[in-house]
Amino acid sequence: MLVLSRKRDESIMIGDDIEITVVEVRGETVRLGLTAPKSIAVYRKEVYEAIQRENVAAARSSGQDLSRVAKALRRRKDKGKEEPEGSSSGDA
């Protein structure tokens, strides 16, 4: 890892297109400003890692049979379409 020291309002360039600026330093929190092309996604690392972990878990589990879960979902959908009890649809 490259470690650089920057003061407030100083910047780092990554390649030609990405700029990171120290906007504010308050206690232990550093506010960073980022300029990058739209096609490059920027995330807080913990969120990125959580998504990646779930992707890997999804890939590992994709061979499983989901028909029982599918049944439960269809059952709930069908229930939502039923007439509620006691509706006055006038059945003699």
């Binding site: 969120v47 589990s61 994709s62 879960v69 439960a72 269809r74 709930r76």
Partner: protein, 154 residues
């Protein structure tokens, strides 16, 4: 023109190029895989599968988030929508990934990292939502069971 792929989950597939979905940046953790096909298995509807064409062992179970969470509403950042060439956000198709643990009742969906597809050019992207309301592990089957238990008995 079709091309044949031999996949782990679905066996032999004949895929038309115009059906291929491209994820230019790949999925998080799977940056090398960019070409996919969306497959259905009627016996497992509403679940669908995103099958990789770059790694035929790789597939993901997906579901329409509105099926498992009818009030799911996301704000996709404008830049992400533009990247996909989507002019009308209503036209975008959104899927979430399903994780199936050994205990089927613990099945979860990742509501925080939906896959957004532009059906017109078949480009897609995994969007990481800023909104921390939505968990990466939403136990939707448990929620359904809770609902069913709360319902008054007939």
């Amino acid at each position: 023109m079709t091309k044949v792929y031999h996949t782990l989950r679905f066996g032999k597939l004949e895929i038309r190029e115009e059906d291929v979905i491209v994820i230019p940046e790949g999925l998080l953790g799977f940056a090398q895989c960019r070409r996919y096909i969306l497959l259905e298995d009627p016996s497992q509807a509403p679940f669908q599968w995103l099958q990789s064409l770059d790694n035929t062992d790789l597939s993901f179970a997906l579901v329409d988030p509105l099926v498992i969470k009818p009030d799911y509403q996301i704000q996709v950042p404008k830049e992400e929508v533009e990247c996909l060439g989507i002019d009308d956000p209503q036209k975008a198709r959104v899927f979430v990934m399903v994780v199936v643990p050994k205990d089927l009742s613990e099945v979860t969906a990742n509501l925080r990292g939906p896959i957004v597809v532009n059906p017109e050019n078949r480009r897609a992207r995994q969007v990481v939502l800023m909104d921390d309301r939505y968990p990466t592990r939403y136990a939707f089957l448990k929620e359904i069971q809770k609902e069913e238990q709360a319902e008054p008995k007939a």
